[in-house]
């Protein structure tokens, strides 16, 4: 039986893949009712978690990409809910600013964390009080301007506090390479569209 952190990790991977499938197939699935599409989401999730030759497919994916950050899971949840018509569209300008901020953080964070210099920002995630203070201030600002982002930060920090995943580092709950790559990709696509 998987431990709690393995269950959360596997479920996160299954949910992430299922949501991506639904989002990528939006146009093909648009004739379907929201309830039917939600059922498909559940079915894909179940298939990814069901044992195939004794090992769920999610195990193979998890071995390669690790656990998805809480921010990624929430973003996928909102995008899925939006495609099903349950949530309103996000403000384009706010979405752009958020993705720009994510992309900048990722472009600075990952090279440093992967050994470019002697300074390692990944270390802050082990409970540096001033890093938490920075996040707290950011969350407070977002409460006024964009509560959804504040909620995302709060849930990531809460997940870290309760030990939702195996990682004891807060960065792994806030950010992951998949989200960073998406942010960069979305910004490039936007700037190409603006140039046209």
């Amino acid at each position: 039986m998987p431990s709690f952190t393995d269950l959360t990790g596997l479920f996160g991977i299954a949910w992430g893949i299922a949501a991506l499938c639904l989002l990528c197939g939006q146009s093909a699935l648009s004739p379907w009712s929201p309830a039917r599409r939600l059922s498909l989401l559940g079915l894909v999730c179940t298939l990814l978690l069901a044992p195939m030759n004794g090992v769920p497919i999610a195990v193979y994916v998890r071995g390669m990409v690790g656990d998805l950050s809480i921010t990624t899971l929430l973003a996928l949840a909102y995008a899925t809910g939006r495609s099903l018509g349950y949530f309103p569209p996000l403000d384009t300008q706010r979405r752009k600013v958020s993705l720009q901020l994510l992309a900048v953080i990722a472009c600075v964070f990952y090279p440093l964390a992967l050994g470019m210099t002697l300074y390692d920002p990944y270390r802050w995630g082990y409970g540096e009080p001033w890093f938490l203070l920075l996040l707290f201030c950011l969350a407070l600002i977002c409460v006024l301007r964009w509560p959804l982002v504040a909620l995302s930060i709060n849930l990531a920090v809460l997940a870290w506090v309760v030990g939702w995943y195996e990682s004891s580092n807060l960065w792994d709950y806030l950010l992951d390479p998949m989200l960073s790559i998406y942010a960069l990709f979305a910004l490039v696509r936007w700037s190409k569209a603006s140039a046209r």
Binding site: V55, V59, Y110, A113, G115, L118, P129, V161, N169
Partner: protein, 456 residues
């Protein structure tokens, strides 16, 4: 009066929530609550503390009838598998347990972590046994595991055994992560494997090689290294349950890997690292004088290094011992060296292996087998012909290509036991693990004699 105050308070809050918005008010309340708990967790983190100084020697180290000669033997004589990357730990009862990875070849899916126990009183190794394999690890960590690698063992402050080993899910060693198991009975039985998350990029590329050490509060310092985009060394700090508390960087870029941390006392430690860049050919060093809160900039030491692992221990009198391939290319020579000035100057105490004479000419397979048999007998004079034949065939299988045959003595691992003896393990021609014991009396004598020896 109280009732009036309470109702005014509630009315004021209702007005504020209506103006601010129920949604925003809820998120604000959540923010305050979550971060209050988060700050409590952050302030509960163990503070930086000093290193645990090396353990004092037990009385037997000073007995007149303690051994005085260096002794060598092989950990296991079952020839055939590829064996590499041994580590060693002293058990509570004074015996030693070794770990290594073994399989058809390095990186194969059949590689397992294997172990054997040495009894110093009987001066012999017990049979080898499997500790963990790829499928067991995969089932326990609920992640695909492609192969296993370097194991490193620790005896925790509360006497448990903890084993860290490298697991790869994607690609080569650059895709490594660390998995850990513990034992409460000196390694007879182990808990289910658990993954350590130590890197933000898909948890890729963290490996172990150097011996763990302890801080005075019982937490563990585990030297690790990265071998993905960068090659650099770090130290992880772990609590008693193996949860990562902190991480410190020792080097950066692609300069170095496989750090070993030689603890001199509570505040001072010297780190030696394998160089990671072509052309540098020197061991990289860094040191701390405040128990690892700060480290000096990494710099080249005087010790030659052919991009190969280094091992070492610090003796109670601040003398450093290191075992390494102190040559600039290949791994066909291995020496024991010492420094009495904290790692600035080094002298050779003993040449453990040296097969460089064969570099200039290509050995035939027959000559190679004869040489390996001779080296095996020199290691352990009790070996029978059938055993040396099997050893030589195994070495030929692992070390000979169609072009030539090579010798390799690599990946040393060294510990100092509580008796004062220094134990060294290293890979011997990728087929066996060789064990060398430097008795306390021998070390004391050689260190005295080496004071006038030539410096490196």
């Amino acid at each position: 009066m109280t009732r009036r105050l309470a109702s005014s308070f509630v009315a004021a809050w209702s007005v504020w929530i209506r103006q601010f918005g129920l949604w925003r008010a809820g998120v604000l309340l959540l923010t305050l609550s979550v971060f209050a708990v988060a700050f409590l967790k952050a302030f509960d983190r163990p503070p930086s503390v000093d290193f645990q100084s090396p353990a004092p020697l037990v009385q037997s180290a000073h007995d007149a009838d303690s051994p005085t000669a260096v002794r060598t033997r092989f950990v296991s004589l079952a020839a055939g598998p590829h064996r590499h990357a041994a580590s060693l730990v002293e058990l509570k009862d004074g015996r030693l347990r070794a770990f290594w990875f073994s399989g058809s070849r390095e990186g194969a899916a059949d590689v397992e972590i294997r172990s054997a126990v040495f009894d110093p009183l009987q001066a012999r190794w017990g049979g080898e046994q499997t500790v963990v394999d790829r499928m067991q690890t995969q089932r326990a960590v609920w992640r695909y595991v492609k192969k296993l690698g370097n194991p490193v063992a620790e005896r925790t402050a509360d006497g448990m055994l903890r084993l860290f080993y490298v697991t790869v899910s994607l690609g080569g060693w650059a895709g490594s992560s660390i998995t850990t198991i513990t034992s409460a009975d000196n390694g007879e039985h182990w808990t289910a494997p658990r993954r350590l998350v130590t890197s933000p990029f898909l948890n890729l590329s963290t490996l172990v090689k150097g011996a763990p050490f302890h801080y005075v509060d019982g937490t563990t310092g585990l030297p690790i290294y990265h071998e993905f985009i960068g090659k650099f060394g770090e130290v992880l700090r772990l609590d008693a349950h193996g949860v990562v508390l902190d991480k410190q960087r020792l080097s950066a870029g692609r300069s170095s890997l496989q750090p070993i941390v030689l603890i001199k006392n509570g505040k001072h430690a010297q780190v030696l690292m394998r160089h990671g860049e072509d052309g540098r050919n020197r061991v990289i060093g860094t040191r701390t004088e405040d128990a690892g809160r700060h480290w000096t900039l990494p710099s080249e030491t005087i010790l030659a290094n052919p991009n190969a692992a280094v091992a070492g221990v610090a003796l109670p009198d601040d003398t450093l011992l290191a075992a390494l391939n102190d040559i600039e290319t290949d791994r066909d020579a291995l020496s024991l060296v010492t420094s009495s000035d904290g790692g600035t100057h080094w002298r050779t105490l003993s040449v453990l292996e040296d097969q460089r004479i064969w570099r200039e000419r290509e050995l035939t397979a027959t000559e190679y087998v004869a040489s390996v048999k001779k080296q095996a007998l020199m290691t352990d004079t009790r070996l029978h012909d059938s055993e040396t034949d099997a050893i030589a065939e195994s070495a030929k299988q692992h070390m000979c290509t169609t072009q030539r045959c090579n010798f390799e003595f690599s990946y040393p691992y060294m510990i100092r036991s509580t008796s004062g003896d220094v134990h060294l393990l290293y890979t011997w021609n990728r087929s066996l693990i060789k064990h060398v014991v430097f008795p306390y009396a021998w070390l004391a004598q050689r260190l005295k004699e080496s004071r006038n020896a030539e410096l490196h």
